[in-house]
Amino acid sequence: MPSTEELVRETQRGETSAFAELVRCYQRAAIITAHAVLEDFHLAQDAAQDAFLIAHQRLGQLRNAASFGTWLLRIARHRAVRLGRRRNAERTVAGYVDRPIAETCDWMEPYKEVVQQIARLPEHERIVMVMRYVDGRSVKEIADATGRPVGTVTKQLSRAIQRLRNWLAEVQT
């Protein structure tokens, strides 16, 4: 599996399919990041989509190709904040509610808490957590994708799990 760095290089050479691979790889992490701000799955998808388009336009400004993931998540967060502001303004002006949230996002209900906490993790840990447990990738696949050694990925995962554990316990008490 090509690494993020290789995919970024290929995208810079004009390979749209390489960028599609990057989207496939990081889309859930981006959506989760945006969801923590917007608390709406569909809007979070829109924010993530915008983030990928912005990232594609500005890929030439990315100095370290391997850090594409963390860079993208920061863009996704900014984009989500802007979308959130716009939504709130629209709601205030016209009492406008864009989608019947409860009806379309039932499946998110049991996971809302953990999604909020994942979004608190540092970007590099958030990426490996989402790839490992939400995407179901193996540690080896994550190491290949992120260009980090397997040992590093394993450590980041265990640290992230510990953090989530503490945060979830805080929420419950």
Binding site: G14, T16, S17, A20, R28, V134, G136, I161
Partner: protein, 553 residues
């Protein structure tokens, strides 16, 4: 406080619950403009310029050091770089024929960046063809009248999976377990190539021969640009060597664009996989008047009376996923009290009612076992056939060595291959056909499944695609790796797929299987949807005795 395992499970459940329509890949790709992103603009700030100056000086220093030291990148990096530089890639795999000693072409793949990917495998008569022309993916078997079509997600994905991964695997081997082998150097296509011989082989890696290193050899050849051009596996024969497998890699070869266009002739039925999935989802969304209501009364099979609250919650989730986790949404599940669950059907029809009852009662177990083979398991088969009243064969210590598994109802006339051991047993008024399977140390079961979904096989029939987690993939590769065809003895093993104690299908193992697979077996779309939902939901949290009270209205 939640344990780490609880958190992992919660996240895995979250991943499984993620809707199929949740992907934004297509939307993003559609919106991307065709011209590539511009190269990094020149930083204007003075500080940036200074930094770049320093970086350039450092790079110059590093380059001088490299020139003085004669520094070289690793063999792995050189091979991978060669692969990534290539605009086209063409790989041909030859192997010794199963019955003769002639080399036969087993598979061939082509890839051209931004144009497409094509692979062909199988015999001349029955060639499986896979084409991804960046617009559509086409799957078909030559000579058959069905073609499976789906939307392309970019041919580089498939090329990475099929071609780049293979070269990467060999490049790692070259780096870690090879030494230069000058006596093997040869010239291929007018290019002198350097030979490297493998010095250490993991038994479960890509060779499964019951031979010791020395009785067989693996050679990799690199051309002058350090590109992997050939991999050869050979066995000792007398004083010389006999090639058993040969893989040829060709880079930057001019490829005819026509090979990325499907060429399946006329009178072909095209199954559009995306459309079929969408239709099934659409049908599921149709709102209909609510159907009858069942009440499931539940008691644990052992232990104190009543069901623990956590088990009840888990049970509700399992029921909900089994009934609503497939393409079809069948019922609303609700807890009535500590021992009763109410299931309200979304539609009033007999077929749904039967499906719901089947899904509720299903144990949801899956296992993969090797079928007993007349060539290899003679002694075990003799013992099993000696006393046909017994369901299994145990060794002296009581360990189960082989057992009979009933064929899935309705498929009794399948699996008539002479290598498969079967018996017909009378049970009350009807007969049950059973197949003998043998034990293995790996015990690959459904607990390793991370996801299952509806797919289509090469003939356009609905099939169940599944994915295993790390541990399961590792065990599955060992199980399949230990049972690859033994060409010299003419033995091919069959992998039995046993769902809820019934043998659903038994494909022949042709190559190592890792973490993905497909289950076929004359299923309907509904069958596959229900099987996928059951596998995704997992098995029941506790052993339960369940009584279903029939419709109240």
């Amino acid at each position: 406080m939640k344990s780490p395992e609880d958190i992992e499970k919660l996240l895995q459940d979250f991943g499984r619950a993620w809707p199929d329509g949740g992907s934004i890949v297509e939307r993003v790709v559609q919106k991307i403009e065709t011209p590539p992103p511009v190269a990094a603009s020149k930083p204007r700030r003075v500080l940036m310029k200074a930094l770049i100056g320093i970086a350039a000086s450092l790079a110059l220093l590093a380059a001088s050091w490299w020139a003085i030291e004669g520094g070289r990148t690793s063999l792995y990096a050189q091979v991978i770089d060669g692969m990534h530089r290539a605009q086209t890639l063409h790989i041909i795999r030859y192997a010794q024929g199963i019955r003769g000693s002639q080399q036969e072409k087993m598979s061939e793949s082509w890839f051209k960046r931004r144009r497409g990917f094509r692979s062909e495998s199988g015999t001349q008569k029955d060639t499986s063809v896979y084409i991804d022309n960046e617009e559509h993916v086409w799957k078909f078997i030559t000579g058959r009248n069905v073609v499976i079509r789906s939307r392309s997600r970019g041919s580089i994905g498939k090329a990475s999976e099929d071609l780049f991964a293979k070269i990467d695997q060999h490049a790692r081997e070259l780096q870690d377990h090879c030494r230069r082998y000058p006596e093997g150097d040869q010239t291929f296509d007018g290019q002198p190539c350097q030979a490297y011989v493998v010095t250490k082989v993991d038994q479960h890696d890509h060779l499964r021969l019951p031979l010791k290193l020395g009785d067989f050899q693996v050679l990799h050849y690199l051309d002058q640009q350090s590109r992997l051009v050939r991999t050869e596996m050979r066995e000792r024969e007398g004083t010389g060597w006999r090639t058993t497998t040969l893989i040829v890699y060709r880079y930057d070869e001019p490829l005819d664009p026509a090979i990325f266009q499907p060429n399946f002739g006329k009178n072909i039925r095209i199954v559009d996989a995306d459309e079929e999935r969408a239709k099934a989802e659409q049908a599921a969304k149709r709102t209909m008047p609510a159907g009858p209501v069942f009440v499931c009364e539940i008691e644990p099979q052992s232990g104190p009376a009543g069901v623990a609250a956590s088990d009840m919650e888990a049970l509700l989730k399992v029921f909900d996923r089994r009934l609503n986790g497939g393409t079809d949404k069948l019922a609303v599940v609700r807890k009535l009290d500590d021992r009763r669950i109410e299931v309200t059907l979304r539609r009033r029809n007999a077929a749904d009612q039967a499906r719901v009852l089947r899904q509720l009662a299903r144990p949801g177990t899956l296992e993969f076992r090797i079928l007993a083979n007349n060539h290899v398991d003679k002694a075990l088969i003799d013992r099993a056939q000696k006393d046909l009243t017994k369901a299994e064969v145990r060794d002296g210590s009581g360990k189960r060595m082989a057992w009979w598994v009933p064929l899935r109802v309705g498929t009794e006339n399948s699996m008539n291959h002479p290598d498969i051991v079967r018996r017909v047993r009378k049970l009350d008024r009807h007969e049950v056909t059973e197949i003998l399977v043998v034990s293995d140390p790996y015990n690959v079961t459904g607990i390793y499944i991370t996801g299952a979904n509806l797919d289509f096989d090469w003939l356009g029939h609905p099939a169940l695609a599944f994915r295993l987690n790390d541990a399961g993939g590792n065990l599955f590769s060992k199980l399949s790796g230990d049972h690859l065809p033994n060409k010299s003895a003419g033995v091919t093993y069959k992998l039995g797929i046993i769902f809820d104690g019934q043998l659903f299908s038994a494909p022949a193992i042709q190559s190592k299987i890792y973490d993905r697979g497909e289950i076929t077996g004359g299923f309907t779309m509904e069958d596959v949807s229900d099987l996928a939902a059951t596998l995704n939901a997992g098995s029941l949290p506790v052993q339960l005795r369940m009584v279903v009270r029939h419709p109240q209205r």
